[in-house]
């Protein structure tokens, strides 16, 4: 009798295990070189000689996909995420992988695609009240980086980079593909130093509309992403 119960119990455990959902977690973290950015206090001071400080880092991650041999094997549905460095709960994305499938690369868009940009009012992370939408000219802001540096000869030494544009030739959404080994937790890193090193803050301290500068900037953002399995 006990023997039977044990079998039923073991069977039940296996059943539960089979039912356990396989999820993939992406945890976003912003860096400045070797330092992790922390915007909890509203401002982050870097060790940069020109007193470089960051006050806002916000960007869209969309259309998250996993690839195997360059073919899409898993993709998140309704995949639009506003990542805000000052809001902890926006830094994690969970994607169900119920099958589960194996993969060797991750692919996502930094920004919002042109179709969504011309499709009217949206809700959730795409709600224009989130401050990532231009009001005077239609279009999402894909990436927002704001702060101060002594190099900026502007009011309060401020710099503001609002990177957007959904039409050619200034389509600033960037598709990023990175090889990964199968895991269920990844650390997605964005190194702001890689972006800032390419900018001459003395001469360039704001971008606020779709243009060639914004396009170049978006390419730098794409280069600043990296991934680590946890």
């Amino acid at each position: 009798m006990r023997y039977h119960l044990a079998i039923i119990f073991i069977g039940f455990v296996f059943f539960l295990k089979a039912q356990t959902k396989h999820n993939i977690h992406l945890d976003f973290s912003m860096l400045y070189g070797a330092d992790t950015l922390n915007l909890k206090e509203g401002v982050f001071k870097t060790n940069d000689a020109n007193d470089l400080q960051f006050q806002a880092v916000k960007f869209y991650i969309s259309n998250v996909q996993f690839l195997k041999n360059k073919k899409v094997v898993l993709q998140e549905s309704n995949s639009f995420h506003l990542i805000d460095a000052s809001k902890l709960k926006t830094l994690g994305i969970t994607i169900p992988n119920n099958a589960p499938v194996n993969f060797d690369a991750i692919q996502f868009n930094m920004g919002i695609d042109s179709l969504i940009n011309v499709s009217g009012a949206m809700e959730g992370d795409l709600d224009l009240a989130k401050g990532m939408y231009w009001t005077w000219q239609s279009g999402y802001i894909n990436f927002k980086l704001e702060g101060t540096s002594n190099l900026c000869n502007t009011r309060n030494h401020e710099f503001q980079f609002h990177i957007g544009g959904y039409q050619m030739p200034f389509y600033s959404m960037q598709t990023i593909t990175m090889p990964i080994k199968y895991a269920d937790r990844f650390l997605m890193l964005l190194d702001l130093k890689k972006i800032m090193d390419g900018i001459d803050l003395k001469n360039q301290n704001h971008i606020m509309s779709p243009n060639s500068e914004a396009l170049l900037f978006s390419k730098r953002i794409a280069q600043a992403f990296s991934v680590r399995s946890k």
Partner: protein, 344 residues
């Protein structure tokens, strides 16, 4: 007995039929192209249209609760602003462009004189947030709506959800704007053979087709293209038009071709309201063109019109006036929702 039964049955059938018959809020007028607005993403309903109408007429959308959409888009001016060459916003601030007439918006892809806005749902955002127009912050506006005495109930009626956000607010405004279809002018009756032009109107129509209709194409009386129609630059505004949006030098001084429907009432004319009447407009096309490098090729050959011919064209243009649009009670100030709220 049998008769009684038949009567009861028919009454029942009619009641059910009326209850489930889909109310029609939008029809494509005869011989018109299909609209470009995607109604499947924002299906029209009586309560949503009514909500949008209340929002359109309510100054709550502006920072100081003084200016509504209707302040610069009044029905009797075909939803333009008479006698103001440039838009007039909160605290008597003056904008940089003439407020355009609003009608037949479901057929329009790009909005604003320079096409800055790419979707009807997003249009209201521009004047609401512009510091010289309604000057409001979108989040503050949503807060005000959420704490108002009437809007949570109106949103609940419209969406089965009293929670107000930017998407359902903008979509409701679109719903009302989509119903502003003008298709009942004398011109339309003539086209449907229910009326006929006078001799003068006929002459004007022929001249119109020869000289104006390649840009102001029937039946919408615009092809919605962006063109430089030869206006000399106003150096107090230095408005480069579509260039600001596309950054293409070829787009310098180009502005959207407006519809001519209800043109009698949507004065003053042009993106900066520089012409007060239609005679001035026609004089511009015959004698006033500024030949810059981006001037429309269609205007490179001179338009020749005698003063009598201009009078004829204007007589034709007046047949584009649609009284049933200008005085349609469904488009006017919603007393039953807004005045009642003000009393409560």
């Amino acid at each position: 007995m049998k008769l009684k039964f038949i009567i009861i049955c028919s009454v029942c059938i009619f009641t059910v039929a009326f209850r489930y018959a889909k109310e029609i809020f939008f029809t494509v007028p005869k011989n018109w192209p299909q609209p470009v607005y995607d109604f499947s993403r924002n299906p029209l309903s009586a309560n949503k249209i009514e909500l949008g109408r209340a929002l359109f007429y309510d100054p709550i959308l502006s920072r100081n609760n003084m200016i509504s959409c209707a302040s610069c888009h009044s029905q009797y001016n075909a939803f333009a602003h008479a006698d103001h060459s440039l838009s007039h916003g909160i605290e008597d601030k003056i904008g940089t462009r003439n407020s355009p007439a609003l009608m037949n918006l479901a057929w329009q892809t790009l909005f604003m004189h320079d096409g800055a806005v790419n979707h009807l749902d997003m249009q209201a955002l521009a004047p609401i947030t512009h510091p010289s127009e309604m000057g409001e912050d979108i989040n503050h506006m949503i807060e005000k709506l959420n704490s108002s005495t009437i809007y949570p109930a109106l949103f609940y009626k419209a969406y089965n959800d009293s929670n107000i956000n930017s998407a359902n607010t903008l979509k409701a405004i679109s719903q009302f704007l989509l119903t502003l279809v003008s298709y009942n002018a004398k011109y339309d009756s003539v086209m449907h053979r229910q009326a006929s032009f006078t001799e003068q109107e006929n002459r004007g129509y022929a001249l119109f087709k020869k000289n104006c209709a390649t840009c102001h194409t029937e039946p919408l009386f615009t092809n919605y293209e962006f063109v430089n129609n030869g206006l000399a630059i106003d150096t107090t505004l230095n408005d480069f038009g579509r260039f600001k949006i596309t950054q293409y030098h070829n787009d310098s001084f180009k502005f959207k071709t407006p519809t001519l429907r209800n043109i009698e009432f949507s004065y003053p004319y042009m993106h900066d309201g520089r012409f007060k009447n239609l005679t001035q407009v026609l004089n511009h096309y015959t004698n006033g063109l500024n030949h810059s490098s981006t001037l429309s090729p269609k205007l490179k050959q001179a338009i020749l019109l005698s003063s009598n011919e201009k009078v004829d064209i204007i007589a034709f243009l007046l047949t584009l006036t649609d009284q049933s649009f200008l005085f349609n009670k469904r488009f006017s100030y919603p007393k039953h929702t807004l005045l009642k709220a003000a009393k409560d």
